[in-house]
């Protein structure tokens, strides 16, 4: 089955929305999106991968069509909420693929339930040092607050162009809608990201690791740091600015599939 379908799964906090593709018996990959996108960003990749893998992409609580928390205490808290969704879907063992904030969330999931996470793949690892965390904590907190003049719409549209969403009008429009649905959650999630000690987590995480990035990703400067922290990690350079899964889906999917296919045979069985 190559079609991506959508659904909701009930968790204690509310409904978590997801997209899925692939045969139930195939090895599972769980995808986690960046701020402030949604599971939509993995649709093209999932279509590429669905012949060999069972894919689930989640809308993180606060984003897309998932329930809206009023606070986000930490990235680990988001990870726990998504583990609840994964459990409710009956998924046992799986590969994690996270993009930007989704990588931060995926890292926490890998730390929380290492026995169930076969491998971790991060597209655009977020590995700020303590100075950067403090600095970004002040900069990356501006939400697009609705105002009666509608000026916030152009602000959001122009911001999305600067991070590469203007590659196509469909992508630009879809990201605008996702970013503005999540105007309340965006500063909550970013706040949690800059409070996370991702470097410590990345150094500690024990399963096979893949690090991916594109040279025109806003996080490219941190990619070298992530690779230094984990010289054992598999790496891949892809294209597409901050939107690799949308703009370079075939290469990202291929890199991920190649990485998963190198995993030990005993851990390649279905979840």
């Amino acid at each position: 089955m190559n079609t991506v379908t959508r659904g909701y799964v009930s968790t204690p906090g509310g409904q978590v929305h997801y997209r899925t593709a692939g045969a139930a018996a195939a090895p599972t990959i769980a995808f986690f999106h960046q701020t402030a996108s949604s599971s939509r960003m993995f649709e093209l990749m999932m279509a590429e991968l669905s012949s060999s893998f069972r894919c689930f992409a989640f809308d993180t609580p606060g984003f897309g069509q998932s329930w809206q928390p009023t606070e986000v205490p930490s990235v680990a808290w988001l990870g726990d909420r998504l583990i609840e969704a994964i459990d409710a879907l009956g998924i046992d063992r799986f590969v994690v693929c996270g993009h930007h904030t989704g990588g931060c969330v995926g890292l926490e999931i890998a730390l929380a339930i290492p026995q169930r996470v076969r491998a971790l793949s991060i597209i655009g690892p977020v590995t700020p040092n303590s100075e950067e965390r403090e600095q970004f904590g002040r900069v990356f907190l501006q939400p697009f607050v609705p105002d009666s003049s509608g000026a916030y719409l152009q602000t959001a549209w122009d911001y999305l162009r600067t991070i590469g969403a203007g590659a196509t009008l469909d992508l630009h429009t879809a990201e605008l809608v996702d970013h503005l649905i999540a105007w309340r959650s965006t500063p909550l999630a970013f706040g949690a990201v800059w409070r996370q000690d991702a470097c410590a987590g990345l150094a500690k995480v024990s399963m096979p690791l893949q690090l991916m990035c594109s040279r025109d990703d806003v996080l490219w400067p941190m990619f070298a740091r992530a690779c230094e922290l984990r010289p054992d990690a598999a790496t891949a350079i892809v294209a597409g600015g901050d939107f690799q899964p949308d703009r370079d889906p075939i290469n990202v999917a291929r890199a991920l599939a190649d990485f998963v296919n190198t995993l030990p045979a005993h851990s390649r069985t279905a979840g």
Partner: protein, 263 residues
């Protein structure tokens, strides 16, 4: 409590909001270019009284996008009837608004035995000449442009329809309209070529007609009542967004209607 979900039909996935409750379910059909979100306030105010299912029409909200222009408004009715089937619903009431009313009369004419009552906000009994005139104003898509100025055009258009009565509504309608820029074009194209009046006159179940005095369809409300003097009627507030801006008025009129007819 409102739960969201998808009904799977042959053409794709139809997104809905559902609230369980007693009695036959009320199927809610939204206007162009909103989504089932426009019924949330009404559903919440009637929690425990009625079962509700508010669909996102194909091309809108979380539902699938028609791959090409549907041949008629009846196609939407057939998709939604299939979605109702998929949810295991037999008979139902309809509560609908603007384009939702256009779809409702087609559902009723196709499967009259399943529809137990129809309540519509902003009936659309336009003559062909009037439809051609409206078509000029409501069929031009707000197509995305690289500069992004279409967003403010859409924002101002929604202000003209009264969405600015509540900033959260204005914001939500902007996102629904941006998401449905193709769906809006497809639905309006079919609305303005539909003969609404014939299936409207054929409705044989209790009928409630509602409209706000500042609704764009208010000029046709008197005609609707003349065409159907047997129908109940109520005047609302809230411009083109009555269920969001005057949910108390909608609920009071709807409750009274259901009670009067023992529904």
């Amino acid at each position: 409590m409102i739960q969201k979900g998808y009904a799977n039909i042959a053409a794709g996935q139809v997104h809905y909001r559902r609230q369980h409750g007693p009695g036959l379910p009320v199927i809610c059909l939204h206007q162009t270019a909103s989504s089932g979100a426009m019924w949330v306030k009404v559903m919440e105010q009637m929690a425990g009284e009625r079962a509700f299912i508010a669909f996102d029409t194909p091309g809108f909200g979380g539902s699938f996008d028609p791959p090409q222009l549907p041949p008629s408004i009846g196609t939407y009715a057939e998709w939604l009837l299939e979605a109702i089937d998929a949810l295991g619903v037999g008979q139902f009431h309809i509560l609908c608004h603007h384009t939702g009313a256009c779809i409702a009369v087609e559902m009723t004419s196709r499967q009259p035995e399943r529809v137990t009552s129809v309540a519509m906000i902003g009936p659309v009994p336009l003559t062909e000449a009037e439809r051609n005139e409206y078509k000029k104003h409501y069929s031009t898509p707000f197509s995305p442009t690289a500069a992004g100025e279409y967003l403010n055009t859409t924002w101002d258009y929604l202000r003209g329809l009264g969405a600015h009565g509540d900033l959260a509504l204005h914001h939500r309608e902007l996102l629904d309209t941006a998401r449905a820029y193709m769906g809006r074009f497809m639905a309006y194209t079919n609305v303005w070529r539909q003969d609404f009046t014939t299936p409207f006159m054929a409705i044989r179940v209790p009928l409630l007609l509602m409209c706000a005095t500042d609704d764009v369809l208010w000029p046709f409300f008197g005609r609707s009542k003349e065409l159907r003097p047997d129908a109940d009627s109520a005047v609302l507030k809230g411009a083109n967004f009555e269920p969001d801006l005057d949910p108390e008025g909608v609920v009071a009129a709807y409750r009274g209607f259901l009670k009067k007819h023992g529904l």
